[in-house]
Amino acid sequence: MKNILFAVLLCVASSLYAADGYKVGDVARDFSLKNVDGKMVSLASYPDAKGMIVVFTCNHCPYAKAYESRVIGLHKAFASKGYPVVAINPNDPVAYPEDSFENMAKRSKEKSYPFAYLFDETQEIAKSYGATRTPHVFLLKKNADKYEVAYIGAIDDNSESADAVKEKYVEQAIAALVTGKVPTVSTTKAVGCGIKWKK
């Protein structure tokens, strides 16, 4: 009886934990998701990386669209420094056909994405990470074989206009990591489109 109770408690605790998602300092799980080129991609696919800019994003959301060129810019600026972008679309394409795998491939080609654009078909990764909206960034730092969450939140402080940005959160966080420091601002919020969960 005690064992059953313990098991139930453990289940409840773990489900609560999963619902909360990651916090800064947590170890991020690896994944294996299909890229727009049809190949499977995981964190382990980047053996030389020092970290990873994981961006939960999608095709349809105007806030994600507003950041599209800035995400490309992040990859171009930081992939060579060991921090590539990995974009993940977690949306249910039944809710938004624009976010289907085919349309992801199309968008990636049209805009010549220099980074992997992965489809989280089961939505398991978005749930594990605790992504709630698009765009939603999880900046990871490699520590031995593990990836630790170093920053969660927005790319910068102005979704509408890249020219009006005052705080480049992700860039500042990477700058801190590169010099072996902890990012001063490690969590931010921004409005975005709620992830469309499967029914």
Partner: protein, 191 residues
């Protein structure tokens, strides 16, 4: 001597009259112009007023006579648009006080991009005939999202319900149905 003083007083009277006339002219010009400009201002003002976050914070304070329902939405957010009729129905049914009962005030806060305010938000409100007040905030900053509610991650739709007493406050980061809304508000209206 007398005629001079009479002349002076008349001159004073006349200059006074002239002064008054000039003032009247100016006043009538201003009056003639004012109604036009305020009228056109009022029309767009009542339709979608642009507000600052400070103003929103003032609106988030509890009011002893009114339960406030503050809904955060955008024209580009489909679930937001889907739930709007429920909120607007709530406004129509509960915003007028009946026999001294407490009222419910619905407020739609648009988080659309600033460039879409005149081209998308205002036409949307007109077309849908939304009756509850709509204000425009634009995309909020990180600290402002926390200022609405610490639990808000930033996704839409999101709704804040503020009861009539201090501390009566509920926040929902999801799409809401009419009945659900009614249940939540009921507990605040008739505790």
């Amino acid at each position: 001597m007398q005629s001079i003083s009479v002349f002076l007083s008349r001159a004073r009277f006349l200059s006074g009259f002239c002064f008054l006339f000039v003032v009247w002219c100016f006043a009538s010009i201003t009056v003639a112009q004012t109604p036009k400009s305020t009228k056109s201002k009022n029309v767009s003002k009542t339709l979608v007023e642009i507000i600052t976050f400070d103003r929103l914070q003032a609106l988030m304070q509890p009011n002893p006579d009114t339960v406030r329902i503050i809904n955060f939405w955008a024209t580009t957010c489909r679930p937001c648009i889907e739930e709007m009729p429920s909120f607007d129905r709530f406004h129509r049914e509960y915003s007028l006080s009946k026999d001294g009962q407490k009222t419910v005030q619905v407020l739609f806060v648009s988080l659309d991009f600033k460039r879409d305010m005149e081209t998308k938000v205002v036409p949307f409100v007109k077309k849908r005939g939304i009756q509850a007040p709509v204000v425009f905030l634009g995309p909020p900053k990180s600290a402002e999202i926390d200022g609405v509610d610490a639990s808000w991650s930033g996704s839409m739709p999101a709704t804040l319900i503020i009861g009539t007493k201090a501390g009566q406050r509920s926040f929902y980061e999801k799409k809401m149905e009419y009945d659900e809304l009614k249940d939540f508000v009921k507990t605040y209206l008739f505790p």
